[in-house]
Symmetry: C2
């Protein structure tokens, strides 16, 4: 894996990357929500059926965290790690328990730093799909990336 | 609390809301990162000292999840819950263990739905501060909000 890890000068606009897969567990959806997003439609099947979601939905922040796990675990081969400065995100549809998720990413912009010659910003556009190839999460993120050490 | 919960027609641009406070725990930073963002600067003090962060930093997604907890637990008095469609976020500086965090939010835009008369979009701009009143997280989010049931 190390041989595939890339530095700033190795990236180009249009390069694409795919992650592994992760299955979302019902109990983990509920415990994540209990800690960070305790709303009825994330905690209780009956309440969720009565809600806008028409069934238990993972917290959007759980969805975002799972996407990060997929990116860190091989989804983006950045040698210095994935250091996000910020970005835009959306949840076009809910993540359901037992969904099997996968992230596909594309580099959409590369900007060398003006003041720091050893680093730059790589903007990636990532989409996380469920097992039916429906997008559940879109993230466009600006990542800090370093040049290869001399 | 119920009496203070608000519906779409109760909101106006410029209204502000403050959350309670939450302290970030070192061990929870590490277990969150181990599950969702297993990078050395989130897991190990010595590795973090050698990194860009110059010390253990919470995962940005842990930071985002803590902000959601503060919003759900009184930080935004939305009667139908906090249902995010998407937004923009950034992390202007790291969240450190033992930071005590608080969110302040302002309504920046209100858009009635054209097709669904009982709902609309409320855009909020939230800032999460640490105990030194330094911003660690900025979120501008579009939230789905319902009118009061008749």
């Amino acid at each position: 894996m190390v041989a595939m890890e890339r530095y700033f000068e190795d990236f180009g606009v249009g390069q694409t990357f795919g992650s592994g897969r992760l299955r979302v567990d019902t109990e983990r959806c509920k415990t994540f929500a209990a800690e960070f997003d305790p709303q009825p439609f994330h905690l209780d099947e009956a309440a969720a059926q009565m809600s806008l979601f028409k069934g238990l939905a993972a917290s959007g922040w759980h969805t975002a965290a799972v996407a990060m796990r997929l990116l860190v675990s091989g989804g983006l081969p950045f040698a210095n790690g994935i250091i996000g400065l910020g970005g835009e995100l959306s949840w076009p549809r809910p993540t359901r328990s037992d969904d099997i998720l996968r992230v596909e990413s594309e580099i959409v912009e590369i900007t060398p730093s003006r003041s720091k010659p050893h680093q730059g910003i790589v903007t990636i556009r990532s989409t996380m799909f469920n097992q039916n190839r429906e997008a559940v999460y879109l993230l466009t993120a600006k990542l800090l990336v370093f040049r290869r050490p001399i």
